[in-house]
Structures are given as structure tokens and as C-alpha cells.
Amino acid sequence: MKNMERDAKFRLDRFLLTNLVPLIFIGLSMVAIPISQFSGSYLVQEMLIRLARNAFLVLSLLIPIIAGMGLNFGMVLGAMAGQIGLILITDWKIIGLPGMVLAALIATPIAMALGWMCGVILNRAKGREMVTSYILGFFINGLYQLIVLYGFGKVIPIRSADLVLSRGFGVRNAINLLGIRNCLDNLIPVSLQGIRIPLGTFLVIGVFCLFIVWFRRTKLGQDMRAVGQDMDVARAAGIPVERTRVVSIVISTVLAAYGQIIFLQNIGTMNTYNSHEQAGMFAIAALLVGGASVARATLPNVFLGVILFHLMFVVSPMAGKYLIGEAQLGEYFRVFVSYGIIAVSLVLYEWRRARDRAYARRSLRGGEA
């Protein structure tokens, strides 16, 4: 009887701990939405646009989590590859969907090379993948800036005067992506009661979700799960652990490149030197808000996370304005929440893991609390 009570309490505690972050966000949203005074249709429209804009980037994080490599902060490498593709197609003036696909095609080998490099490095930093990939992002950012600031125009020819800095080399700070703006979102124009639905992008996201479901069942997907659960056991079972981990990072990096291209076609402008920097942080924060952890993430986590995270993005400045009289305070709150939530999720994950271990130890000892 005592054991049953303890199990029930443990399950409740575990549920609350597992879903604490989404529950906090749902609570905050319920308070902030009425204060912001936004209409329901406006919020639905904003959420649909933001879901189309961000879901692919967030989905690209799932595969390394399956392989036990945690949250891939190195996805910014893929984002940079995507941006190089976008710079080139803007210079060549390739318009519409062909331009977007060509940018993805150009980004693929760059992202594969960067992903392979990242995977090899992470194999040498087992157990510290997240911090290593985070720092690796800064390192590659330096290389990216070097290429974009000095390579473009000097080594890589750029003809468009709209792109090149007045000194003759280097790419301008902001690039207008008018040629490909919303080309995927508006591919199949659908409008429901005045709410525009970016069906083209949702179809691509849907195909990606099916890919992830299928991928988990393949031999490689099963290998990744085995590696994610226990590397030593996986190695003993004949799975090439290091290679599997590298493949997971390569796939994630390539998908992040595509995600960044989809993200920027929705936005319509590219901040050459900064757009990629926030990509990883916001995608990871959104995934964690959806209830994912370092070791476990599902498709519902992605969609719930993007909706809740961006709901806060939209409503908090306005709620701040009506509540305190300053929109800026709401904006500070939003940034604080974005970064804070990553820290809270990581702490909760470690806490939960310690509790689970303690519970397992107690159970082995014979049920004494």
C-alpha cells in the first residue's frame, strides 16, 4: 500500500517535472493573451505564419536527440550554409521556387562538409556535445564572416551592385530576398475566413514529419536509438557508434540549412552577419518549451513548442505595454524567457535524471523510501 502511494506520487511528480515548462508557458499565455487585447483571428494568423517559418528548423533538431547527442547547437553551421546558397542565388537573380531549390542544392554539400566536421569533433567530446557544438558554432561563424566579408567579391565573383559593399568586395549587411519571398508559402494559395494558410510550407513540413517517422524505423534509425541509449552496448552489438553519430549530425546540419532557407523565404530579408546566430538558440528554446528534453523529443513537442514560444513572442510586448505602459519591458521579458527557458530545461533534466536514478536505487533496495 505504501509502495503504491509512493509510486502514484512519483508518477505525479514525474508528470509535473516532465511538463513543467509547457505548463508554465500555457499559464503565462493564458494571463498575457487577454491583457494584450489581440483578436483571436490575428493570433491564429500569426501562429500559422510562425509555425510555417520555424517548424522545419526545430524539426532538424530531432535526429541528434535520437542519437543521444543532445540539442544540436551546431545547427547554426547548417544555417550558414543555407545563407551562402541564398547569397549566390540572389546574385545570380534566380527567382521563385527554382531559386529556393537551387539555394538548397548549393547549401547541401557545404552543410554536409560542416556537419561531418562537427560530427567528428563531437565524437572526440562525448558527454559534452552541447557545449562543444555551441562553441563550434562561434568558430565556424568566424570562418563564415571571413568568407562573406572578404571572399565574396574577391575569390567568389559577385556581380550584383545591390549585394557588394561599395569597396568592391564583401556582402552588404542586409540582403533583400524579394525574388524568393513567400514563394513556398504562397505556392498553393489558401485562405480560410480571411486567414491565409501557407499550405506549400506545411506540405513540406508534413513530408519531413513523415520522413522522421519512417527514419526511426529504418536500420539507421534503430542504430541511432541504440547508440542514444547506451554507446557501449551498441558498440558490443556491432553498431558503428562513431559513424552513426556523425551521420546524425550531418543529417541535422543539412536539414538546418533547408530550415534556414525556408525561414528566410518567409521573412523576405536576410541579415547577412546575424540571421544564423539566433537560429539555433530560438529553435532549441522552442523545442524545450514544447516539453522536450535533452534526451527525448517528439513531433508533438516541436509543434506545441513553436506555438507556445511564438505566442509569447507575439503577446508579451503588447501585454507589457498595457500592463506597465512600456512595450520594451515585454520585449525584455520575452528575451529573458527565451534564454532562461533553456537553462531551466537543462536544470530540470538533470534534476529529473538524478531523481530517477535515486528512485531506481531505492526500488532495488526493496522499496524503502
Partner: protein, 127 residues
């Protein structure tokens, strides 16, 4: 091993060809449609009236005498339709012509030259 290499090389080649195809399909051009008097190889074509110009059946633009505008087109082959208008905006004459663009072709479409029957009515803009 050899077969695998051949398959991989073929795939890369296929992707390169796919990329080249995308380049051709999606290549965009900004063209200046110009209704100004122009001299081409000692022959002068005078802008005399207002014209309505549309390319590939797109939104038509109206150009008065000494007027110019920019249009964006996608792809290499296009059809231009020029309608000369009188004072009451009635169409006096209509000309339709197919033209091709490439890397070296100009980006200025001279309407007086086109209406005057000039072969080289697409000219390279003076910097």
C-alpha cells in the same frame, strides 16, 4: 566498390544538371522599357506617342513620350506586346514580338526602335 563509385558520381552529375536546369528556369532579368528617342547606328527612332507595353501577358504598363519603367521577367524567352495609343487612349497600332535574353544581351528595350522595325531594339544601357 567501382559500381558504388559510378552510382555516386552519376548522382552528383544528376544534381549538377538539376541545378543547371533550375538556373535556366528561374533566371530573372530586370529590363528597362524605354519610350525615348534613340539613335542606333546612325538611324534615329523618335518617340511619338504613348504606348502600352506588356511582357508575357503580364500587367501592362503605360509609357508616355520620354518615359521609362522597369519590368522583371523570369526565363530566357519572352513575348512583348506594344500598343500605340492616340490622344483618346484608343489603340492605333499593335506589335507583338518574341525575343530571347542571355548574359550578353542588353537590358534596355527601346520601344521606338521596336516600332520602327529595328533588329537591334534590345540595347546595352550606357553606364
Amino acid at each position: 566498390m567501382k559500381r558504388r563509385t559510378i552510382i555516386q558520381a552519376s548522382l552528383v552529375l544528376l544534381l549538377v544538371l538539376f541545378g543547371a536546369g533550375l538556373y535556366r528556369i528561374g533566371k530573372g532579368f530586370d529590363l528597362l522599357v524605354d519610350n525615348k528617342t534613340i539613335t542606333i547606328e546612325d538611324r534615329t527612332y523618335r518617340a511619338t506617342s504613348t504606348v502600352r507595353v506588356s511582357v508575357d501577358g503580364g500587367e501592362p504598363i503605360e509609357l508616355m513620350k520620354r518615359d521609362r519603367d522597369v519590368i522583371s521577367v523570369v526565363g530566357y524567352s519572352h513575348v512583348i506586346r506594344v500598343e500605340e495609343l492616340d490622344m483618346d487612349d484608343e489603340v492605333v497600332r499593335s506589335v507583338e514580338k518574341t525575343f530571347r535574353l542571355d548574359r550578353n544581351s542588353g537590358d534596355l528595350l527601346s520601344i521606338p526602335a521596336l516600332l520602327g522595325g529595328e533588329e537591334a531594339w534590345i540595347v546595352i544601357r550606357n553606364p
